[in-house]
Amino acid sequence: MVKVRKGSKPPPDGWDLIEPTLDELEGKMREAELAPHEGKRKVETLWPIFKIHHQKSRYLYDLYYKRKTISKELYDYCMKQSIGDKNLIAQWKKQGYENLCCLRCIQPRDTNFNKKCICRVPKEKLEEGKVVECVHCGCRGCSG
């Protein structure tokens, strides 16, 4: 099923090169949405959603900012179509937040003491051998 395109203009050049990957990621997202909740914790059911969302935005960010293989036009088109999360990508541009997992983990209002999520703590500062899977997105440490 083809996603609904906002607006009527056709996509800019270069779209055909990235379309297969984006379609694949779309498919994965749909699978994650339909996955059964059996055997998973209540919070764990949402983790794949956040993961794929991160992957999609990562793909576009990589192409445009790192590898610079797509044009600004195409990039802006993808942002407009909400394929990538512009807020998340805006965080990735900041120093220290390059590998940020999701936007929930830096939201102080989501925590009891107005702090960031445990996955934002660098591994060196965290006590030895403590495996964390943050409750929001299942991230195991996204700083450093």
């Binding site: 055997g39 009891n112 003491f113 006590e127 495996v131 964390v132 899977e133």
Partner: protein, 418 residues
């Protein structure tokens, strides 16, 4: 009845709102930097079922988050911690404390009686200027030694451990390393300690932990009855870096001390009284309670006098110790030959025994009572078996106060007579 926090402001003043919880040290944990969450009217009290302010905090790394379970009114009624329901002073269950202090406050336990009672108590406490414990606990009491003995000396943080992972028990825990719950075998369901009820624990009825503690206390070794009636010596163990003067300073309150000998090599000391009842009093007061210089000293009865007659090392313990001849007429027990021969390398003890037995022959024959604990206290010591070279003296000094060279009341003032 509406239970929303926003509506129903009519009954709001009956609900408890507090600033800080009443907690014991173990519940707070080892970390001095605690972050605590406060939630007004977060839950109902487990005892009186009224809403109250709950506080929630993490008592340390790898501990479960603890929260207050009972309201402040209920905790003040019984003077217990709001989370663990153990006494604030001793850290012991309510049943143990009440039995030891013989407190018989009757707090109503059911239905309307309970509600009426808590309402009244809360009203009274609100009026009190100074917070006081409720009921019989408010009476000033001497520190109960039963409770002091039963109480823990250090905080017991094992209470704050996370609960057992029920998935692990079934074999299904998928979280593995990351699982915050304990991966251990759960406690035996047959164990009476597994079925505990918060209300039972609070009211002090039918509490298995309390019953276990009390039975353990009753079976604990009590002070032994003094064996031979003339033994006035107390054996003091765990004497490390404690000098004779400190022992004298402590034991003089029970009666006149005949002699104090410190044996640093064995980390022990012997305190001999002149009077038997002084020794008994001292033993009673200090058994399992004596702490000098921060060290707990073990107190036991010393050997019977016949072996003691040959005791008293020459030149021992700084020369304060003097050896006095046995008072003639006191009965003495002939020691068992086996115990003497262990360290009797020179056969010297036999000679002094003969002297002792001849002295006693003039009076009643010695009671045929072998000292039962002779082996315990003295076989390891050479103290009891090495006779002093000058034990047989012609001068009849039997007590330190008879010694003409001793000017003061204690040996430290006068020169010891060798």
């Amino acid at each position: 009845m509406s239970i929303s926090l926003l509506s129903n402001t009519y009954n709001r003043q009956n609900w408890e709102d507090s600033e800080f919880p009443i907690l014991c040290q173990t519940c707070l944990g080892d970390n001095p930097y605690i972050r605590m969450m406060k939630e007004r009217y977060g839950q109902e009290c487990k005892i009186c079922n009224r809403p109250f302010t709950i506080f929630r905090w993490c008592p340390g790394a790898r501990m479960r988050f603890k929260k207050t379970e009972i309201c402040q009114t209920c905790s003040k009624v019984k003077n217990v911690c709001q989370t663990c329901l153990l006494d604030l002073e001793y850290g012991l269950p309510v049943q143990v404390r009440d039995e030891a202090l013989q407190i018989t406050d009757s707090v109503p336990k059911s239905h309307v009686n309970k509600e009426y009672f808590t309402q009244n108590v809360e009203g009274e406490m609100a009026l009190d200027q100074q917070p006081q414990p409720y009921g019989q606990l408010a009476k000033a009491q001497p520190p109960s030694d039963v409770l002091m003995k039963l109480a823990r000396s250090a905080p017991y943080y094992k209470r704050n451990q996370p609960h057992i992972c029920s998935f692990y028990v079934k074999g299904e825990c998928k979280r593995g390393e990351e699982c915050p719950y304990r991966h251990e075998k759960p406690s035996d369901p047959d164990d009476p300690l597994s079925t505990q009820n918060i209300r039972d624990r609070f009211y002090g009825i039918n509490d298995p932990v309390a019953e276990k503690l009390l039975s353990r206390y009753k079976e604990a070794p009590q002070l032994e009855a003094p064996e031979d009636k003339t033994v006035t010596t107390l054996y003091i163990g765990n004497v490390i870096d404690i000098d004779e003067q400190q022992l004298r300073d402590h034991f003089y309150q029970y009666g006149e001390i005949r002699s104090v000998t410190v044996v640093p090599k064995q980390s022990c000391a012997f305190v001999q009284f002149t009077q038997r009842d002084a020794a008994e009093r001292a033993a009673k007061e200090t058994f399992n309670k004596l702490v000098i210089d921060g060290k707990r000293l073990s107190v036991k009865w010393g050997k019977p006098p016949s072996a003691q007659a040959s005791s008293g090392r020459a030149g021992e313990a700084g020369g304060y110790e003097s050896n006095y001849e046995l008072v003639p007429g006191l009965p003495s027990v002939v020691p068992m030959p086996s115990s003497e021969s262990k360290t009797d390398f020179f056969g010297l003890s036999s000679s002094s025994n003969m002297a002792a037995s001849t002295a006693s022959n003039t009076f009643l024959p010695p009671p045929p009572m072998p000292p039962p604990d002779l082996g315990d206290y003295t076989s390891s010591l050479s103290y009891g078996h090495m006779p002093p070279p000058l034990s047989l003296r012609t001068s009849s000094i039997h007590y330190p106060s008879q010694d003409p060279s001793r000017v003061g009341s204690t040996a430290s003032h006068g020169k010891a007579n060798e």
